[in-house]
Amino acid sequence: MKLSRDDMIKLALTSFISAPPIAFMSFEFMFPTISTPSFGKSLLAVFLLSILTGIPSGYLTRRTDLAMTSVFLYTAAGYLLAVVFYSVPYTIYDLQQVLPDIYYAMFFRFTMILLFLFVLGGFLGTLFGQMVRDWIKTEETSMTFENARKG
């Protein structure tokens, strides 16, 4: 897979911008009772939001392989961001860790299905985004031809 400088920038920007929804969903999945807003650990909501998160990278990226790579990148970035948000109270403010087991839970126990849903939803989202872009382009082309024929 060859990457140009623009592709690299695009991947970096996509990872940066798409990471917060993934981070929030990861955090919310651990702490549904204290998160604002809360999905109540609904996997369906997580899946639908994963699709929504994947749409922009599909819409803005012409190459399918790049769009799918961006899904892996923003999922990883978002997951790391969730760990950072969880760590904030007892790293920056020097507070005691309320639930020490959550690190273990975040990395190994609860999140395999969650990560699978992020990636699967992201793939579907990118495909949907590319389809939407193609529909729009087809429509624009046909309108251009129609206008030219009328004119």
Binding site: P21, P89, L95
Partner: protein, 199 residues
Amino acid sequence: MAIFERVKKHWVTVALYLALSLFFLSACLVSANTYGAIAQAQRDIGLQNPEHHAEIVQHGNLNISFSIQLHNPSRYTLHINWLSWSAALMNVSSSDNKRISLGENYFGPTRYLEVPAKTTVNYTFWSKISDPGVLAKLSGYVNYANGLGGNYTLETLPYDQTFLVMLFIGEFEHESLRDAYLNELVTVSLSYSSAEGVA
């Protein structure tokens, strides 16, 4: 650069994309802030200034009293699930009835006790012991202890006073049986024992 031209071309999509990202970034910050406040509350909520007294009152009765403060510096109201106080004397000289119960009190969740945010609430309990049988046991213990070289009176006996409280922080859900750790997150259990101090 080509990428900026594409951003200009698809500015509506990019704006919506950024809005989505910013919304969830804000949600992350708010949620992490809540988590930080809960961690702070877990650290700072505590029992302080315990005081216990025993004194002889009218007709030779014994009055045992206890007071303690529950300090809540957090921004959340605390909902007391239950609290209990008990006073007793451990009678080591007796082989069968070691614990002489002198008073107890219990408040369950149906009392809806609360500690408002950033306040300190004082709890006071007392028990008046007028039962001649219990007073006789206490006097017997005084005689026994003094016979072993102690210097006790009914007012200076080492009464064991215990205060336990379990409370929930704020209005967060805490009844999920499926995820017990979520209850743990917003639950504070505090205890004081005259023998061991605040724990």
